[in-house]
């Protein structure tokens, strides 16, 4: 069920490198913040390891607000990962 999952979105080069624009994920054990989610994703698969290895270039939003590693996560949240913005 979506409400018990994280909805994760990827934009720009993250989306292209993963070959994935979004995914739903049952909240893994031990994941309670953006930082712990990133650590979990890096262990999950080399492709995630690759994009988050360039961690300083990845920004995050939780429920459409800019977030940091300490921002808490709960089931039902929408988490987005993207490069620093370049609009305008």
């Amino acid at each position: 069920m979506r409400a018990r999952s994280l909805h994760i979105l990827y934009f720009a080069w993250l989306r292209e490198r993963l070959g994935l624009g979004e995914e739903c994920l049952a909240l893994p054990d031990g994941v309670d913040s953006v930082g712990t989610l990133i650590a979990w994703l890096r262990r999950r698969d080399d492709r995630y390891g690759a994009i988050f290895a360039e961690g300083r270039l990845v920004r995050c939003a939780v429920n459409q607000e800019f977030a940091g590693p300490d921002t808490p996560l709960a089931a039902g949240d929408e988490v987005a990962f993207f490069p620093p913005v370049t609009g305008g």
Partner: protein, 155 residues
């Protein structure tokens, strides 16, 4: 009060100016900025730029930026329009308008709005070059520095 739009098509500068000022006699000045696609980027010829955004977040992010401008200056209205999708060299990308009783507020708010938009609104540009190569534009330190100018209070 702010008018915020994300759209594929071109915006109509005159219509937006008219909508912002229609029927008002308290405006003394309107500042504006239009950003356009440059053909040469990093010494190479661009064929197009593609703009991606985060739809669920964009309008709210732009509205927050506009609200912050309205908090800092006595604005009588402002407009933020950002295009998405494929844009060719010469095409307008972004429009900022800010109306105020006095020009200093209108011009300062215009600069603030584009500076914050460039660093706080979820848009990403991909450049496609004539040689077939394509890459995502990297954020510029100059844009961060320009946005950081506004970290103090109005003035």
């Amino acid at each position: 009060m702010a008018r915020v739009l994300v759209q594929d098509g071109a915006f109509d500068l005159a219509a937006e100016f008219a909508a912002l000022t229609a029927g008002r006699c308290d405006i003394g000045g309107v500042g504006a900025f239009v950003g356009t696609v440059r053909e040469i980027s990093g010494g190479r010829r661009l064929t197009a730029m593609t703009l991606e955004h985060y739809p669920a977040m964009t309008a709210a992010a732009l509205a927050r930026i506009a609200a912050e401008a309205e908090r800092r200056w006595d604005l009588l209205g402002c407009t933020l329009i950002h295009r998405i999708g494929r844009l060719e060299p010469g095409a307008p990308i972004v429009l900022v308008l800010a109306a105020a009783a006095h020009r200093d507020a209108a011009l300062a708010a215009t600069a603030f709005l584009i500076d914050w938009l460039k660093t706080r609104a979820p848009f990403w540009k991909k450049e496609c070059f004539a040689d077939g190569e394509a890459h995502w534009v990297e954020a510029r330190a100059e844009d961060e520095a320009a946005a950081a100018r506004w970290s103090g209070e109005p003035g």
